[in-house]
Chain length 212, copies 2
């Protein structure tokens, strides 16, 4: 039986992967947990604890092989294959996500976008087709889409998520700043950009207090 | 002397704030730590631990007053005032961020955008002015901008961050999928969307394994 792995460990694994790719590009083959942790501004205890959930990596006193750890993390995260995704909402954010290079680099292929606006649908944008919502079920099945990315205004987010769930989607990446109330068997990852940004205002406030 | 507060605690505070606003809108005045934690799918121990860094909130066996806790978290995060921000890079992502309602709701006002493209600069987009990079220092001073948001391609991100730091910016919100090497006195919050998304592929992989 697998131990319950904290959600934050999973997210950090992606950051370890990103950092390891950075070092690999600089021709670094072996890296210590301390150096990797310092680079990411976390403690090396945290790094080692996160990895320990998945097995034994690296050699004590030597470090991790970049290439091998990259391969292992990709396998853990399911990135050693392609995933099909769709974007719901083709406004500025939807467009940004549809053509976000970072997704493609990790094997996440945006296969289709959906929008309610008649001006946007049934057109091709740089090889991406934008469909009306009525086509969702058919397109998701045809394109074998497994991940739904929500980039609609917050008022429309829950309806979009419900529709995706009805079409069989089991994983939703939600960028609308709202909690979704949808079936429990759908995995939702909320990325609320304003929540992320407000950690900066906290630090700015401390900085101002120090200076005054 | 304040205890060192984990970065993740700060981020979670924003999510607590968002959830409390949700409950307040539903006319809920008192909420237990368990209900709040369940709503956010975290443990109530975590919630209580996070809040304990900042003092004593709520009453044992009763719960938190939504209004009071909202006020306290806003004060902790420095959200009881306005902050000026600018967006560097006015592509799809830059536009999405410039007009992101969630920022405005939390008192983060986008005062200007910057871009290198001559087609985009010196124009107004829905009351937001886009400037060429050469104007950065002047605009940042004039508009009292304290936060820089990076939405340029990853190859250009470090140059953008360096320029922001030279213009006196102490807080950077980085959406380019790359680690920035800039002066230590600048606070950087990296939001790598692909890192966030890959936690979904992890769960999808587990789900498939369970079904097969």
């Amino acid at each position: 039986m697998l131990k319950k792995i904290p959600e934050e460990t999973i997210t950090r694994l992606s950051y370890y992967l990103r950092a390891l790719l950075f070092f690999k590009e600089k021709d670094i083959t072996i890296i210590s947990s301390k150096r990797l942790a310092d680079f990411l501004k976390i403690s090396h205890h945290q790094l080692r604890k996160d990895l320990s959930y998945f097995g034994q990596f690296g050699r004590k006193g030597v470090g991790y092989s970049c290439v091998r750890l990259i391969e292992s993390i990709r396998e853990i995260l399911g990135l050693n294959r392609e995933w099909g995704a769709c974007v719901v909402g083709f406004g500025n954010l939807g467009r940004a996500l549809s053509f976000y290079k970072g997704f493609k680099d990790e094997g996440i292929a945006i296969k289709a976008a959906f929008d309610i606006s008649e001006n946007k649908v049934n057109k091709d944008y740089a090889n991406l087709k934008v469909y009306p919502l009525e086509k969702m079920e058919k397109v998701i099945r045809k394109e074998k889409i497994q991940i739904g990315i929500i980039a609609v205004p917050k008022e429309a987010a829950e309806a979009a998520a419900t529709r995706l769930a009805e079409c069989g989607i089991k994983a939703i990446f939600n960028l609308a700043p709202v909690k979704l109330d949808i079936p429990k068997d759908v995995i939702v990852k909320d990325v609320d950009l304003s929540c992320q940004l407000t950690s900066l205002t906290y630090h700015l406030k401390l900085l101002e207090a120090k200076q005054s």
